[in-house]
C-alpha cells in the first residue's frame, strides 16, 4: 500500500485518493485548433518504467489535487506537491 504525504493533511493511505494519471500533459491553449495537439493531450501518455509524474486527488480528504513523483517499479514516492497552477490533464475524472 502506498502512503502519500498530502501537503495539506499529512501521510495518508492511497485508498483515500483518486488517481489522475500522467501529470505532464497540458491542456492546449483555448485558441488552439490543431487536432493532433488535442489528440495527444487526451490520448498520448507517458508510461515510464521508472519515475512517473502523476496526479492524485485526495478525494476522501481535503480534496486537493496533488502531483507526485513516484517510481513505477519500487513504488517509492519522491515528491508530492499541490498540483495547483501546475500541469494539467485530460479526460473526465
Amino acid at each position: 500500500m502506498l502512503s502519500i504525504d498530502c501537503p495539506q493533511c499529512g501521510p495518508r493511505d492511497h485508498t483515500e485518493f483518486s488517481y489522475g494519471g500522467d501529470a505532464r500533459v497540458q491542456r492546449p491553449a483555448a485558441d488552439c485548433d490543431d487536432p493532433t495537439v488535442w489528440h495527444d493531450y487526451v490520448y498520448a501518455r507517458e508510461n515510464p518504467r521508472g519515475v512517473h509524474h502523476e496526479l492524485w486527488q485526495h478525494s476522501q480528504g481535503c480534496r486537493s489535487w496533488l502531483e507526485l513523483q513516484r517510481h513505477t517499479v519500487t513504488h517509492e514516492i519522491t515528491q508530492v506537491r499541490l498540483a495547483v497552477g501546475g500541469s494539467v490533464s485530460g479526460g473526465s475524472r
Binding site: C9, R12, T15
Partner: protein, 194 residues
C-alpha cells in the same frame, strides 16, 4: 416551524457496556467559509475578529464558548456553533464577496459524538490514520474516511472524546457500523428524544 428529523432516528437504543458512548449532537450549525486563492489570510482575520478565536491560516481547530472553527480543506473553514448563533450572521454580513463565500451546510452532516476509553480503538477499526494521541492530538481535525467508502471529518475534542461529522445520507449506516464494531468493548447509544 416544522419538525426537524434526525438521520439517526431509526436506530434503536443500545446498551451493552460503557466503553464507548455514542450520541448525536443535534442542533449544531455548520457554516462553510471558502476563501479564494489569495484571500485566505483576510478570511481568517475576519473569522478571528468576529469569533474572538485565534484563527491562524491553516490552523486545525480552535474553539471557545461553544463556537468552533475547524479546518475543512485548503482555504476552507467550518464555523460550528449552536443553531442561530449571532456570530454566524455577523460573519456572513461582514464577509466581503471578493474575499470568499459562506454557506450554511448544517444539514449536510450528522454529528456523532464518541466518548469513552474504547473510542479511539473503535475508530481505528475504520480510520487508516494513526489515532494514537502522540500523532493525533486533542483539538486536531482529520478529513478522512471510515472504511473504504464513507468520507468523514473527525475531531478529537478530548483525549477520549471524538466528534465525527458524516454525510447525512451515510449517517445511519455509519452508526450501525459503529455499534457493531464496538460490540466487543461494550457500547451505548441513546437516541435523541425526537
Amino acid at each position: 416551524m416544522l419538525k426537524s428529523y434526525s438521520a439517526l432516528a431509526a436506530v434503536p437504543a443500545v446498551w451493552t457496556g460503557a466503553a464507548v458512548h455514542l450520541s448525536e449532537l443535534a442542533g449544531l450549525s455548520i457554516w462553510q467559509l471558502d476563501a479564494w486563492q489569495h484571500s485566505e489570510r483576510q478570511v481568517c482575520e475576519l473569522l478571528a475578529d468576529i469569533t474572538g478565536l485565534d484563527v491562524a491560516v491553516g490552523a486545525s481547530a480552535v474553539s471557545a464558548d461553544g463556537v468552533r472553527v475547524l479546518w475543512a480543506g485548503p482555504a476552507r473553514y467550518w464555523l460550528v456553533c449552536s443553531e442561530g448563533h449571532a456570530k454566524a450572521y455577523a460573519l456572513r454580513a461582514a464577509l466581503d464577496v471578493t474575499h470568499g463565500s459562506m454557506n450554511d451546510i448544517s444539514d449536510s452532516r450528522c454529528v456523532i459524538s464518541l466518548r469513552g476509553p474504547a473510542a479511539e480503538a473503535l475508530l481505528q477499526g475504520g480510520v487508516a490514520v494513526d489515532l494514537h494521541p502522540g500523532s493525533y492530538a486533542v483539538q486536531q481535525v482529520l478529513l478522512t474516511a471510515l472504511g473504504q467508502h464513507t468520507p468523514i471529518t473527525l475531531q478529537r475534542v478530548d483525549h477520549e472524546i471524538f466528534e465525527l461529522y458524516v454525510y447525512r445520507s451515510y449517517a445511519q449506516h455509519t452508526l450501525e457500523w459503529l455499534i457493531a464494531s464496538a460490540e466487543p468493548f461494550g457500547v451505548s447509544w441513546q437516541t435523541q428524544g425526537m
